[in-house]
Amino acid sequence: MDKMPKWADVALIPFLNLLIAFVLSGLVIFAIGENPFKALMTMIDGAFGSTYGWGYTLYYTTNFIFTGLAVSIAFKAAMFNIGGEGQAMIGGLGVGLACLFIPTVLMPHWSIALIFAMIAGGLFGAGWALIPAYLQAKRGSHVVITTIMFNFIATALMGYLLIKPLKLKGAQESASASFPDVTNLPTLHELLAPLGISFSKSAPANVSLFVALAMCVVVYLLMNRSRLGYEIRAFGESPTASVYAGISPTKIIIVAMMLSGAISGLMAINATMGQHERLILNAVEGAGFIGIAVALMGRNHPFGVLLAALLFGFLYQGGSELSLWSKIPRELIVVIQGLVILFTGALDNMVRMPVERMFIAAAKRKDA
């Protein structure tokens, strides 16, 4: 035997990676003079202790499912899409334009508005990923650099639009007018009330959560049960072999990046349409970047992404509660995020190599 059992690869190594990241996070909390266990308790209570907490946790989770899936599709094609942040921003622009400018006559119900918004958000997000994808496919310009640049360009563009053309006349804030009422998505409170379940009224979790869950299934089917998914995975595993198999690299790079951008853009139905109900400057709040951590932690599998998104949803909501009740600032989440990316992504081999050696040694001993 020269390989590890599958369970070790799928569960044990990610678990060990996470454990190291979390132990180090605990040490960071300890180093700034706070009690890590008390902090963890505050976070758990804040995120899961009430339906209000759950409402926020699930709201963040929804964002991270979209961005995590987006990054994971690009990863499958061996591409690193750091542009989720910008794609989600521009997706938000699409959703916002749809909500503001499609006449309400055409949108008699929120579900129809949602479909329009999804189409617009997806197209805008995919469009924002198209230029980096095209440059990578045709000109060989590194997609990592171009998507970073496009994040900054997106920020500048949104800044311009919300200070000049789209800004609500006479308002102080850089934000658009509020969307028409019919486009407001039902929150979990409204969805669960008919079932006799009482859920916090003020929490932002909304029907987009179910769209996100459905998206996990769609991405799973697409990647594992369709010809396109097979081609994307084949290209990601070995570009040269896939070319021999008649797969066009240009097509795969562009399609995978645009799918990735579209799903990032869909995040806006949760944040822009579901929560803010108008266009604001920073609706994405770094969720595009968290998608990287979520995809790495979830091992690029939709179910893994779902679990990782829930974990980061917990960290986000727990972290903001923590900053209310203790002296630990919200930025703790960014530290944890960095450590998770470092240990599950870049330093994966640090854990993998010794564990692999251990398993092989154990197997040899059994053989002897």
Partner: protein
């Protein structure tokens, strides 16, 4: 626009270009040795924080410089361990380090100073003082003449204006940064070490065959990159600014990467590229909206211009920019 205004914009461009230049040269050493360094941003940030924190606690900007550079080198070391020893993905490692820097600096600043993620403003010996070159108009001349310095420079002849405003009166790190350009060129293109470093970025197997350690060379490049990036952060907090503010690097690490591509991974063009980007920032700072005969260019466009230019360059429309061949690939020794 009169001549003095142009000189003043150039002066401000030089100041704004300095942190970019340090970071760009840091990226140059790293990428020439075959290691992508997206973590420039994070290294600038940790170094800026440590420099400001130590300078504010001890009152010595030189101790601050030392600690800032040390912080940046330790981040470089983590990047080295991840991407050289454990052959991890260099891009992912860089992204992780950026997040780590962005979070840790605020956490530490809050724990030490409790001022909402910033350090107390630096004063006196906590900052680098401007250096007045000989024959330049400075504070002492203004006092002797009994008029404000601005008036004195306004009345001077154009050559004196350029000399006093643009060339003289910067902190020592600006001159160090400018000096680093020929020095980097010399090290990379005229020494044995530089030849080997460049070779490691193009064809590490060949370097290994010649009996030179790829791993040692790559770690050396990480150390150099860490030092230069550290200086960038130190200048940001103690020269350009006066203290650390949360997220004060503000994307400069990425602009430096953009400048590196613009400069086609060469030291002298790096000076030109970073000065250009500094100039764009200086113009955007000075004029909010630029009116070009009826067409108004919004300030956001100026802010986005470095990124747009980089994409255009990357697209190959303005001359091709080719990265070192072995960039981003961990080296696995053959057995």
């Amino acid at each position: 626009m009169d001549f003095l205004t142009i000189v003043q914009i150039a002066d401000s461009a030089l100041r704004l270009a300095t942190p970019l230049l340090f970071a760009c040269l840091a990226g140059l050493f790293s990428e020439r040795a075959g290691i992508f360094d997206i973590g420039l941003e994070g290294k600038i940030l940790v170094s800026a924080f440590m420099a400001a924190a130590i300078a504010s606690v001890t009152g010595s900007v030189w101790l601050g410089l030392l600690c800032g550079v040390f912080a940046s080198i330790s981040f470089s070391a983590v990047h080295g361990v991840a991407s050289i020893t454990f052959r991890g993905n260099q891009l992912i490692s860089g992204v992780a380090l950026n997040f780590l820097a962005s979070g840790l600096t605020v956490l530490a600043a809050q724990a030490w100073f409790s001022q909402g993620g910033r350090t107390p403003p630096l004063m006196g010996k906590g900052r680098f003082p401007p250096i007045e070159l000989p024959f330049a108009l400075g504070k002492s001349d203004a006092e002797a003449a009994g008029v404000p310095l601005r008036v004195l420079i306004d009345q001077a002849n154009p050559i004196q204006q350029v000399y006093s405003e643009f060339i003289s009166g910067h902190t020592i790190l600006v001159y160090v940064a400018l000096l680093m350009v020929p020095l980097s060129w010399f090290v990379l293109f005229r020494t044995r070490f530089g030849l080997r470093l460049r070779a490691v970025g193009e064809n590490p197997a060949a370097v290994d065959t010649a009996g030179v350690s790829v791993i040692k060379l790559r770690y050396a490049s990480m150390a150099i990159a860490g030092t230069l990036c550290g200086l960038s952060g130190v200048y940001l907090a103690t020269g350009l600014g006066a203290g650390f503010i949360k997220e004060m690097s503000a994307g400069r690490g990425y602009i430096a990467l953009a400048a590196l591509i613009f400069a086609k991974w060469k030291p002298v063009p790096a000076l030109g590229a970073t000065f250009l980007f500094g100039l764009l920032e200086a113009i955007a700072n000075r004029y909010q909206n630029i009116d070009l005969g009826g067409i108004v260019i919004p300030v956001q466009f100026m802010q986005a211009l470095p990124y747009i230019l980089t994409v255009v360059i990357l697209a190959g429309f303005v001359g091709k920019s080719v990265a070192p061949k072995a960039g981003g690939q961990p080296y696995v020794k053959e057995r």
